[in-house]
């Protein structure tokens, strides 16, 4: 029972001994995460989310390079954390090129190269898409960016902990990740920045994170994220194989047993746990809710936009019509799923699709030869 006359008990930025212990914990976890990513500890910056990391990377470079140029290259299928940030910057006078993708959701390197201008200050392209799972050729784009001398950021929120993510192999200058995607806590993330070089701060204030990101550190979540990442990486190969097998089982079942259905995303370059389908003639939310009533949780659109009524920008970008996009549902498998889960889904899904199609005037219209889709 010793007296602590301080409101900064355990505040890692303070000089006293408890603060120093806290700082040591942070540094240890920072080093562990760095090693997993192929980075140096001083290149790892803790944030409170993947969204914050994306915003910081993009707005930071934009604000710091305004005089040098005002052109940013990204894609039309980024997560809203990137897309809405870029749209905001457009309102602030920046110019943004949103690269198209092919019907599998892939960006072409030629398109990236053609989009580069003298005043391009940043390229930001996601590693894998959260809705359709398509994995982009990040290493090749990174090489191109390097040859042009343009900083390259990737949103690796969907891939970190799931498939190998090494900043050197990927040729990236900045990379965002979020702990809750690999069973870590919700509310913590990382921005990796080569040589610790980011643009302007997003959050100014105290000297935390090498003066680059103010705010008292969230040590429990830093430890939680680091531990979760460690575990995810240790079991990555095993989990990847298992999850991919379950995913492929769902995909081949759906494609072989349900009519008028489309697999969205790339057939092979896709996240191991992602299966995204468009069921023609029915609407996704209804399908979701019927699955939910059977205890099966899936998602339509992306989690963040499910409050909205517009169909997913990603599905529109791969060329789906509005009506087909509306009928899309994503099954995201993790290592916690089992063959039993998959069998249960295979049991339930055809009947639900049939029920909803029976209610649908589009499906019946189709049968009458009056095809709306």
């Amino acid at each position: 029972m010793l007296p602590y006359f301080t409101d900064i008990y355990g505040n890692p930025s303070s000089v006293h001994s408890i603060g120093r212990d806290a700082k040591r914990v942070i540094d240890t976890e920072r080093a562990k995460i760095a090693e997993i990513l192929g980075a140096k500890p001083r290149e790892i910056f803790f944030t409170a989310s993947g969204s914050e990391a994306d915003n910081w990377a993009i707005k930071g470079v934009a604000a710091a390079n305004r005089k040098k140029g005002n052109h940013i290259i990204t894609t039309s299928i980024e997560h809203h954390a990137v897309l809405h940030t870029c749209q905001y910057l457009e309102r602030q006078g920046f110019e943004v090129t949103y690269l198209p993708v092919d019907s599998y959701g892939k960006v072409s390197i030629e398109d990236v190269e053609k989009a580069v201008r003298k005043d391009t200050i940043l390229i930001s392209i996601m590693h894998a898409n959260n809705e359709i799972g398509t994995i982009q050729p990040i290493a090749e784009i990174g090489e191109l960016a390097k040859s042009k001398g343009i900083p390259f950021h990737t949103d690796a929120v969907q891939t970190t902990g799931t498939i190998p993510v090494n900043v050197k192999d990927l040729n990236v200058d900045m990379l965002s990740l979020s702990a809750h995607k690999f069973h870590g806590p919700k509310g913590i993330g990382v921005l990796y920045a080569r040589n610790g070089r980011i643009g302007d701060n997003l959050i100014h204030g105290g000297a935390q994170e090498a003066n680059k990101r103010a705010g008292t550190e969230n040590i429990p979540y830093i430890v939680g994220m680091s531990t979760a990442l460690q575990l995810a990486v240790e079991n990555m190969e095993e989990n990847r194989k298992k999850v991919q097998m379950l995913r492929d089982d769902i995909i081949s079942f759906v494609l072989n047993n349900i009519d008028h259905v489309r697999l969205n995303g790339h057939p092979t370059d896709r996240l191991p746990g992602n299966a995204n389908f468009s069921f023609n003639y029915i609407e996704g939310e209804s399908l979701l809710l019927m699955l939910d009533m059977k205890g099966i949780c899936a998602s339509s659109g992306s989690a963040c936009t499910s409050g909205s009524l517009d169909p997913s920008h990603v599905l529109l970008a791969i060329g789906l019509s509005h009506e087909v996009a509306h009928g899309s549902v994503r099954f995201s498998l993790s290592d916690e799923n089992t063959q039993e889960d998959v069998d249960y889904l295979k049991e339930a899904l055809p009947g639900i699709v049939k029920t909803l199609r029976n209610i649908s005037p589009l499906y019946n219209g189709r049968k009458e030869g009056n095809n709306h889709v």
Partner: protein
């Protein structure tokens, strides 16, 4: 998110189907908006003796169709025209703000089906709305309760 009444009408929708040779049929909404509602009416002596619907749309759209068809079954055509989306909303114990347009869609589908009936039978179409019910698709200022 949804009331128990909505969930019941979504899971067990009443009056799903098609009426062969209907006296009135109306379809509103479009697939781009994410909602299409089609209503079939069987009318005898200005009374709605049978009604069926088909809906492409979210749970709120399906439940609104189911509830609205229940509400007009056995009513006179004029009584049916007097049923607003507000009444449907109340019967459903409310809908989330983003889904209120679905109740409007049900009102519009009824009006469209009755319009078809009136045009076929030569009746007055004065008290019938002509909006297609897809909120993003039309620029009409609505005086509905939304």
């Amino acid at each position: 998110m949804y009331s128990e009444v909505v969930m019941d009408h979504f899971a067990n929708p009443r009056n799903v189907g098609v009426i062969e040779n209907p006296d009135g049929v109306g379809q509103v909404g479009n697939a781009k908006c994410g909602d299409i509602m089609k209503i079939y009416l069987k009318i005898e002596n200005e009374t709605i003796v049978d009604v069926k619907f088909q809906t492409f749309g979210c749970a709120a759209a399906i439940a609104s169709s189911s509830m609205a068809t229940e509400m007009i079954k056995g009513k006179s055509v004029d009584e049916a025209l007097a049923i607003t989306n507000k009444a449907v909303l109340e019967a459903l114990q409310g809908l989330p703000p983003a889904k209120i347009h679905c109740s409007l869609l049900a009102e519009e589908a009824i009006h469209a089906a009755i319009m078809d009936y009136r045009l076929k039978t030569g009746g007055s179409v004065d008290n019938i709305r002509k909006c297609d019910g897809c909120c993003n698709a039309c620029d009409i200022e609505h005086d509905h309760v939304v």
